[in-house]
């Protein structure tokens, strides 16, 4: 392999043998240029206001048209996995998982707890399962509302729609704070249950917040869904074909906006998701507008799940009394646990060799893998659309770089 032409090209020491290349349908298309003049290479980021953090895209432009786009990662890399493998305990990693996707610390906690529970065969009491579902769905609602807010902000409506989302999000974060002690870094779940029990007053407060959510979504949609500018900017832009979406491991609302019916809550039925009635919203075209619409509809379904769950929270302990806490040493073996996080499939892969800490700890980050097709979606569009397409992926850099 010769030195690559991109900015951060690094030669691989060994020349690879001849191998099959990507098939034509799952590789980025080649965009024809008019052949006049030079391509303009632009570095978007790492401090571009639309990059949601420190992220860079190397874009080659022919006029306004994007002909090449390479994402550059690693500005927030802290070797999260290495920290876990020298942590000295399993539970010690729980607060660190909050920092992966700092918008959704509750679902991060759940995914890690689920993987460890799979590794040791730990059961979870029913009340804890209900609380987990409630917290995860609240997280999903606030994440989707904020994601849409950021998307609209990148369209040029600076502030107002995002603040609408944040007004509602703050109510949900207040619930998290009164339960766990922290708005965003919740560190709430444990292997075999939850850290503290909810009070009856907390459940009532949650019911009040949930009762206000449908009005919020209606209001939000009245402002946005039929908006002419939003439709003009989003429809038919950044189309992702379903076969490529599946092949590229895309997950979450982005996959379903392409029309692929795959929701891990339905497929794996982890926790107690088989007890609730909810539908999986699917898109038709796989463009930005569909991704927006799928998120709105998922908020409505989540509210439905919340209403069902809050009605029937059973009594009992929130922590399995038999759960081993001190001297927690799983038997040698491995487990891969995954959940449907708001951004997609969040998985944890753990290998134990019988020690106090995992021998191998791996986070499967949905944000990073959803960026695989960023180039495919952006090619041929204008620079201004790149910002929108990037916003519609919904990423958090804490999870991309880990």
């Amino acid at each position: 392999m010769s030195e690559t032409a991109t900015n951060s090209g690094m030669a691989v020491e060994k020349a690879p043998a001849i191998e099959p290349q990507l098939e034509s349908w799952n590789r980025p298309p080649v965009i024809p240029t008019d052949g006049e003049g030079e391509l303009l290479e632009v570095s978007m980021g790492p401090h571009h206001p639309s990059t949601h953090g420190v992220f860079r895209m190397d874009v080659a432009l022919d006029g306004e048209k994007v002909v090449k786009l390479k994402p550059v990662f690693g500005y927030l890399h802290r070797n999260h996995e290495q920290i876990a493998e020298s942590m000295g305990s399993y539970i010690g990693m729980m607060p660190y998982t909050d920092r992966l996707d700092y918008f959704c610390s509750m679902t991060n906690n759940w995914a890690y707890a689920l993987a460890v529970e799979k590794l040791v065969g730990q059961a979870v009491p029913e009340r804890a399962e209900y609380i987990r579902v409630i917290l995860a769905e609240l997280t999903r609602v606030q994440n989707h509302a904020s994601a849409i807010g950021f998307l609209i902000q990148e369209m040029g409506a600076s502030g107002t729609p995002l603040m609408y989302a944040f007004k509602m999000r703050e109510k949900i974060l207040d619930l998290f704070e009164s339960l766990s002690g922290s708005r965003m870094m919740c560190n709430y779940m444990r292997f075999g249950g939850c850290r503290v029990d909810t009070s009856a007053a907390w459940l009532d407060a949650a019911r009040t917040v949930v009762a206000g959510l449908p009005t919020f979504v209606d209001e939000y949609e009245a402002l946005l869904t039929g908006n002419e500018i939003l439709m003009a900017r989003c429809q038919g832009v950044g189309v992702l074909r379903p076969e490529l979406a599946v092949n590229a491991g895309i997950s979450g609302p982005m996959l379903r906006a392409s029309g692929v019916n795959y929701d891990i809550r339905k497929v794996d039925r982890y926790g107690i998701y088989d007890r609730f009635k909810f539908r999986v919203p699917l898109g038709d075209h796989g463009d930005i507008y569909d991704r927006y619409m799928v998120r709105v509809l998922e908020m409505r379904e989540s509210i439905g799940i919340l209403e069902q769950a809050l009605k029937e929270v059973p009594g009992g302990p929130v922590m399995d009394p038999k759960a081993k806490i001190r001297g927690f040493k799983p038997k040698p073996g491995e487990a891969y646990g995954r959940i449907e996080a708001p951004k997609g499939e969040l998985g944890f892969y753990l290998i134990s060799t019988g020690g106090v800490e995992p021998y191998r700890y791996r986070v499967r980050p949905p944000s990073l893998i959803n960026l695989t097709v960023l180039e495919d979606m952006c090619l041929g569009h204008n620079v201004a659309d790149v910002v929108l397409i990037f916003g519609s992926v919904d990423i958090v850099l804490g999870e991309v770089d880990r």
């Binding site: 191998e19 290495q82 490529l244 795959y262 891969y336 191998r360 695989t372 097709v373």
Partner: protein
Amino acid sequence: MKTVEEIKVAIEAAVPDASVSVIPNGSPSGQQSLLLDAEHAFAVARFLRDDEELALDYLSNVTGVDWLDKEVTEKVKVTKQVPKEMDAPEGKQIQMVEETVEETRKHVQPGYLEAVYHLFSVKKKHGPVVIRMRTKNRTDDVDLPSLTPLWRAAEFQEREVFDLYGIVFRGHPDLRRILMWDGFKDHPMRKDYVEPDDFEYEPTAHDKVLDRHKQHMAKTPGEEQPAAGATA
């Protein structure tokens, strides 16, 4: 869904030369994995993706694992000639007698790097099927075939494994470092990775920092004055 053993049989029927073995899993999760040989892994993976019944079209997770050289102690029964005093007609005499003795022997099991893939099926909604490949050693023979041509999902993840573990994926369209910067030399997720000596003065030095300071000063004697060979 087929069990791991049934998948193994199906693979052996489809790709005759491939050697597949089932790696047991001691955890209650029961996720057993299939170890593929690097030579036929690409053909096997293509079979897993395209087979009608398995239809593993969704590659969820790709990761590396570093297994260090392991010193294995074994107890072996050995038959040996042992001198023994025997009663003979001419009085006591030393004779060689065969006897079985238990001996502990040590040998080093060479380490390797491992790439693990978690496959699911979106079409059939089943999974995971775990496949793994192993390199020959940890130093110079670290090539494995890339599965990116089959699943685009592996593109960034294999780059990450290359970056953090140093497995070179043959056939990857764009194998570069992804998280660490260019020009970084080592692979930081390897188990024998040594942190660089990035000592910094801290005004409120406490135990760990002081220890690091001592180590740093021991490594670079006479930092205040130029080193002896520096003028030459």
